[in-house]
């Protein structure tokens, strides 16, 4: 008995996490058993097997590819542009004070609401979808980079001045590494927004993509397909987040923990 409770005390973090997932899965399965209709609800195991079936038959691969392309370009450009603009906002006081109201307005505007306008301007092809992902993902990246630059204390600027470090080196020696944790948070928030952007973009005249399949599932009352797509989209969010965290830990060994949001 003592050994068992020791084992629990030592490993409680893992055991409880697994137990927690078990509890959720049990409730989910119980609900499925109660509802007992695939039109309304699907259990966790059915989601797994259905998703496996989609991959095995290969019918989802095109959709993954299309959504992947949209996300890759949209998020990629958002990351570069977001970090660049955030840096400029953080560095230039005039720029910051002048464009702050624009930034507040952009922050307050639900960027997915701009999706229909983008469709009108860019048509229904791939470019429009990429732009939609871009505008939904870019806002948190800009804002967090900007906050990050401001969080690097003025005293570090004084330090650089007093050691005669040229201004352009201050950018990559101090401002970028100093704001890295904030940039990472921005990218993580941008990921989940970008995925919403993919789905919203595919609402308008798409012929393939995970979001398109989601809508198809809704139209055809195909609950397993919908839950499978939702799970894949959510799973992508989790996986990409972990990837970014791992990269951050590699690039920033000086930090103790980075799990804070």
């Amino acid at each position: 008995m003592g050994a068992l409770s020791n084992f629990y005390q030592e490993q409680r973090r893992w055991l409880n996490a697994i137990f927690g997932i078990g509890v959720v899965a049990a409730f989910w399965s119980f609900a499925d058993w109660q509802v007992n209709s695939e039109l309304f609800f699907v259990g966790p195991w059915r989601v797994v097997t259905y998703t496996y079936g989609l991959f095995a038959s290969g019918e989802i691969l095109d959709d993954l590819y299309i959504s992947g392309i949209e996300f890759f370009w949209g998020f990629g450009v958002a990351a570069f542009a977001g970090i660049a603009f955030g840096m400029i906002f953080g560095i230039s006081r005039v720029f910051r004070e002048f464009f702050d109201p624009w930034l507040s307005a952009v922050y307050a505007t639900p960027s997915v609401a701009l999706a229909p306008l983008i469709i009108i301007w860019f048509g229904v092809d791939l470019t429009a979808k990429i732009v939609i992902v871009l505008i939904t993902a870019v806002v948190p990246i800009v804002l967090n980079t900007y906050t990050g630059v401001l969080s690097v204390g003025k005293e570090f600027q004084t330090l650089a001045n007093s050691f005669c470090i040229p201004q352009r080196q201050v950018l990559y020696k101090i401002l970028i590494p100093g704001s890295l944790p904030y940039i990472v948070t921005g990218l993580r928030l941008g990921i989940s927004r970008g995925i919403v952007g993919v789905v919203v973009g595919e609402y308008f005249g798409a012929y393939a993509g995970l979001g398109y399949q989601l809508f198809k599932g809704l139209d055809t009352f195909n609950m397993p397909l919908m839950m499978s797509c939702a799970a894949m989209l959510a799973g992508t969010g989790v996986v990409l987040n972990q990837v970014i965290l791992v990269i951050e830990r590699r690039m920033a060994p000086w930090r103790d923990s980075t799990l804070q949001e």
Partner: protein, 263 residues
């Protein structure tokens, strides 16, 4: 290598965002000679740090001028280095890379030379074995050693120290005072060292010359020469003459400190 500094009738006035002006430094003259350790001592808000920044070139004087070897100081130059009150180490750099911060732009220096300089000062400040540690893994005293090594690595003629021991615990502080003399070695290298502190005992213990600052607008009330030979050991602090000097300075500063407290 031996520079001298003349400070001539320097004033400094700031403006608060409220529009109120603050007369921080009110007419200071100084003549600083190479191979000498100077302290600025006075109550908080007496303009001693401002004076240090002006000598460094981070702030221009409102009136008067500061000459370094006859040329007016207009900005920071590589022959001056500062040791900050907060260590201000870059958290993403290990000890070696932090020490290297000030010399990595010196094109006349090869990578091996840089390495050697870093090794030398890592040795001098007693951090051998900690080269690849990051700042968050170091104690406060060790961080201040890196801070000092970073300044010494540029081999400055003028070393400016802005209350570098203020955030250390009392014992570490005593040990650092004793070691500082060996680490900086201003007598042999002909450096000018300027040390800002509000600890009178620390100022007297370390300095050849102590400048006593009045409360705002900061002026020099007295310039006191400390006769003990250097390097000194902590035992000096118990000698009657040392205690007498310390007492005299406190007599001089007590009223000023009271003004600062009531501000």
């Amino acid at each position: 290598m031996s520079s001298s500094i003349q400070v001539e009738q320097v004033h400094k006035t700031f403006m608060k965002p409220t529009g109120e002006t603050v007369h921080a430094v009110g007419g200071i003259d100084m003549d600083l000679r190479p191979g000498t350790f100077y302290s600025f001592v006075g109550p908080s808000g007496c303009g001693k740090t401002t004076m240090l920044h002006m000598i460094h070139g981070l702030l221009p004087p409102t009136r008067g001028r500061i000459l370094l070897d006859g040329d007016e100081v207009v900005g920071p130059t590589p022959n001056k280095a500062v040791v900050f009150q907060q260590a201000l180490l870059l958290p993403w750099r290990n000890v070696t890379d932090n020490i290297q911060f000030g010399i990595e732009n010196d094109r006349g220096m090869s990578a091996t030379e840089r390495r050697e300089i870093c090794d030398k000062y890592t040795q001098i400040v007693g951090l051998r074995g900690f080269e690849s540690h990051y700042p968050h893994e170091l104690s406060g005293g060790m961080q201040q050693r890196v801070n000092l090594a970073r300044a010494l690595a540029v081999n400055p003629e003028i070393l400016l120290m802005d209350e570098p021991f203020a955030s250390l615990d009392a014992q570490t502080r005593l040990l650092m005072q004793e070691e500082l003399q060996r680490m900086v070695d201003w007598k042999n290298s002909g450096k000018i060292v300027i040390f800002v502190t509000h600890d009178i005992e620390e100022a007297v213990f370390l300095s050849d010359v102590v400048f006593c600052f009045s409360f705002r607008p900061g002026t020099i009330m007295k310039e006191i020469k400390v006769p003990f030979p250097t390097p000194r050991t902590l035992r000096v602090k118990e000698e009657p003459e040392f205690l007498q000097i310390k007492h005299d300075i406190w007599e001089l500063l007590a009223d000023e400190a009271r003004k600062a407290m009531e501000e």
